[in-house]
């Protein structure tokens, strides 16, 4: 197996040739969960339907159910038919079906893992999966350690011998990666004790979204925006992830975690990194991560945590025409819970490009609508050659990168209102990816699963990035933990608590209504 082998049928110029995953088996722990049913299993089918899975592909479900393989296959089929994004075709299903297996058992049951090892060996023979195995841990974070040590104990985590034979074993874990810096480090230690660092894939499905890659293209493929992308022109940046839903049935997960840990630590700080980083030398995983890591290391929370970090909790009220419960009345939430459902923090980036430009990050539940965006608010024009009354309708110029829904770019600027007098007003120039490229972009999980099988990591956060993000957030979390105050209440269906408004008003700024 020489390193210099070049497949004669592949040609870098032949870009039409699909990136196809090699022979491999994907083992899914927690296969009966919501995420598997709604996203992961349909994504696997869609990959097969697009012709991106090898004929030698196997899918092994592992769960605490007394199911036969046929029953599991029926469950998979149902999930696929319900949620797949490409048309359901029986021939493609037939191809997948040949490689579907099921292993019943508990995560700490040695016998079940022996069965799993035997099942994988059988798949390697019958289906030709080539000894390549990916383990997808769609289980609660507290179970990570158990599964990983079980994999290690049953020789499924790959060793020298496997590597020599060109076989791989990879593990996929989902956020949250710990709940603070110390726990993130511990998780990292446990995972890396069993798997090599390049074999660990941390999934933050946000990073698999097309738009995050669109952001890279937008910033680095154009000449138009780079000149203003700095402290000379940008007044401040607002990064928002608003959800209109409450915590739903996730009380057990959410209480004690809160908006900052759930969303800011991963999604919003990754969006900040992509917005603020310097141009990477290339889009290779190494280079991209180096730039993200560099900017995250230069990022710190605001100096005055009492004023630069605020939190809120939603109250009962009418949201979008429906009466909804307050956070403390949700089932399973202790009446004295101080978990925040709204978090807004200011962070600063200490480097030449961004010194003095605050980045405001907010994440919340039960806001008026679901939206994720990054907005660069520009400074006012140095001089306006208009009477003050003429320009009273004029706000700051803004460049908004909408992540969801209706992914796109909006540019807000002033224009003259048609009339004999001079009157200025803000208008918006809007570009929607969906309008220019109606081609349905692949589901984030499709791309991520394919990348895991190909061993291609650019869209996955690295442990250093995870740790840097916690290092930014830890002081805020500690400040809140030590504080006597409870999160301020805000009406469900409103844009958040009064303290958040004040946080910006103090500096003469306002939150955008996204």
């Amino acid at each position: 197996m020489s390193e210099t082998y070049r497949n004669p049928l592949r040609d870098p110029l032949d870009r039409r040739l699909p990136r196809m995953a090699g022979p491999s088996a994907l083992v899914m722990f927690g296969v009966t969960g919501d995420l598997s049913r709604k996203k992961l299993l349909p994504a696997i089918y869609d990959l097969a339907n697009r012709g991106l899975l090898s004929p030698g592909f196997g899918l092994v479900g592992f769960a605490r159910r007394d199911w036969a393989a046929e029953h599991f296959a029926a469950v998979v089929r149902e999930a696929v038919e319900e949620n797949c994004r490409t048309p359901f075709r029986t021939d493609v299903w037939q191809q997948l079906l040949e490689g579907i297996r099921f292993v019943p058992g508990e995560l700490d049951d040695d016998e079940a893992f022996q069965t799993l090892a035997a099942t994988l060996a059988e798949l390697d023979r019958a289906q030709g999966t080539g000894g390549n195995h990916a383990f997808y841990l769609s289980v609660p974070p507290r179970a990570f350690d158990t599964v990983i040590s079980q994999l290690k104990r049953h020789h499924l985590a790959g060793d020298e011998n496997d590597r020599e034979l060109g076989r791989w074993s990879r593990v996929v874990i989902e956020k949250p990666f710990g709940h603070d810096l110390a726990s993130a480090r511990e998780l990292e230690r446990n995972v890396s004790a069993a798997f090599e660092s390049q074999s660990v894939f941390r999934i933050d499905h946000y990073l698999g979204k097309e738009t995050v890659q669109n952001m890279l293209a937008f910033r680095f493929a154009n000449e138009l925006f780079e000149p203003i992308w700095n402290r000379t022109y940008v007044d401040h940046v607002q990064i928002t992830m608003a959800e209109d839903i409450g915590i739903g049935g996730r009380a057990g997960y959410y209480d004690g975690i809160g908006a900052a840990r759930d969303v800011i630590q991963n999604h919003l700080l990754q969006l900040l990194a992509l917005t603020a980083m310097e141009e990477p030398t290339s889009f290779a995983a190494e280079q991209l991560s180096a730039e993200k890591q560099k900017v995250l290391a230069a990022t710190r929370p605001g100096r005055d945590l009492a004023q630069d970090a605020v939190r809120g909790q939603y109250l009962a009220g009418w949201a979008g025409g429906r009466y909804v419960k307050g956070y403390l009345e949700e089932e399973g939430i202790p009446p004295d819970s101080r978990t925040e459902t709204y978090a807004a923090i200011r962070v600063d980036i200490d480097n030449r490009r961004w010194a003095g430009v605050p980045f405001y990050l907010r994440a919340a539940k039960r806001l008026p609508r679901r939206v994720t965006e990054v907005a660069l608010i520009l400074k006012p024009a140095p001089h306006l050659p208009f009477a003050r009354t003429d320009s009273s309708g004029l706000g700051s110029n803004a460049l908004v990168m909408r992540i969801q829904p209706d992914e796109g770019i909006a540019l807000r600027f002033g224009a003259k209102v048609p009339a004999t007098g001079m009157e200025l007003r803000d208008v918006t120039m809007d570009f929607g990816y969906g309008r220019s490229f109606a081609e349905s972009s692949p589901e984030a999980y499709e791309r991520l699963i394919l990348d895991v099988l190909l061993g291609d990591p650019p869209l996955f956060p690295r442990p250093e990035e995870v740790e840097s993000s916690w290092a930014i957030l830890d002081p805020v979390l500690e400040h809140w933990a030590d504080s006597d105050e409870s999160p301020q209440g805000y009406d469900s269906g409103s844009w958040g608590p009064e303290c958040a408004r004040q946080m910006l008003a103090r500096h003469g700024r306002v939150w955008r209504r996204p």
């Binding site: 592949r10 039409r16 191809q95 220019s436």
Partner: protein, 310 residues
């Protein structure tokens, strides 16, 4: 809304689109203009495939047909009819057939790319055709020609950058599977056999691609039972890698030391092909090299017949 414009001109059409747009709403972000020349094929099928493609790629679509009679231009506009872009059907009568480009030029969108598609019969040198010259991409389909194999060969002989035949698009999945198989069996390939239905241009082009990439003897075999390509065998030092498809949907894959496995390899309809093709507006270097090889193979095998191809 559908607007009929009998006996009209390019300027009239442009005007009507503008005023219609102010009532149904402007499409923003149309990314290119597609000109479909429906000659020797069904207008309805071309229109359906164009609308399908327009759904994925919001664009201005100009469907061109010819009709006998006095010199005249008839047009029909479709706006906001469950497609994001504009669809303009143009019927050229009489002498105007010789001057179609003069109508099309004012109607193509500013700045963005223009693609011409001939689903049926196409000019022998698309790059020199007056309509073809308006475009950066010229898509032909040998399968739409009365005699597909000579049509494909002719296009190989007259290849110009920007030309593309949908025969190539039909090959993508086959090529993907074959390339993937050599990712894992790293033995040098000694010889190749491609079998396909007789007079099938897809098999012919696949053979040319394998010849170009591998530089070994590639034999093309007629398989009268099959639909399209029925099988490819790569003969390597380790044994045979074989991909066979007898029913036009499921293929069987086998390789040395491995179980035989099934893989879905369905033939795709024209809507799927043109939609895939419109995803890429850049020059396809692999296609260009394959067409050069196809021309070379043809000259070597059959030097006498080149001039006689229609």
């Amino acid at each position: 809304m559908i607007i009929d414009l009998p006996d009209t001109s390019a300027a009239d059409i442009g005007q009507r689109i503008l005023s219609a747009r102010s009532s149904v709403g402007m499409p923003t972000g149309l990314v290119f203009t597609l000109i479909a020349v429906a000659e020797g094929c069904s207008y309805d099928e071309v229109l359906a495939a164009s609308i399908d493609a327009g759904r994925e790629h919001p664009s201005r679509i100009l469907v061109v047909t010819n009709a006998p009679g006095d010199t005249r231009l008839d047009a029909q506009l479709r706006l906001g009819e469950d497609v994001p872009g504009d669809i303009i059907s143009l019927v050229f009568h009489g002498d105007l057939v010789k001057h179609r480009a003069s109508v099309l030029l004012p109607l193509v969108l500013p700045d963005s790319s223009v693609v011409v598609w001939w689903p049926g019969t196409a000019p022998s040198a698309p790059g020199l055709d007056p309509i073809g010259r308006l475009a950066v991409r010229r898509i032909t389909d040998a399968m739409g020609a009365p005699d597909p194999v000579p049509a494909l060969v002719e296009r190989a002989l007259h290849y110009a950058p920007g030309d593309l035949d949908l025969t190539w698009t039909r090959l993508t999945k086959w090529r993907g599977l074959l390339a993937a198989s050599l990712d894992h069996y790293r033995a040098p390939v000694r010889a190749v056999t491609v079998s396909s239905a007789p007079r099938n241009p897809v098999g012919l082009l696949l053979a040319a691609w394998l010849d170009d990439r591998l530089g070994v003897e590639v034999t093309l075999v007629d398989d009268p039972r099959g639909i399209g390509i029925t099988g490819v065998t790569l003969d390597t030092d380790a044994g045979e890698i074989r991909l066979t498809r007898t029913d036009g949907t499921m293929a069987a894959f086998s390789a040395p030391g491995l179980p035989r496995r099934l893989v879905a390899l369905p033939r795709r309809d024209i809507n799927a092909l043109i939609t895939e093709e419109l995803r890429r507006l850049d020059e396809d270097a692999a296609y260009s090299a394959t067409m050069a090889r196809l021309a070379g193979r043809w000259r070597a095998n059959d030097p006498g017949s080149v001039e006689e191809t229609p």
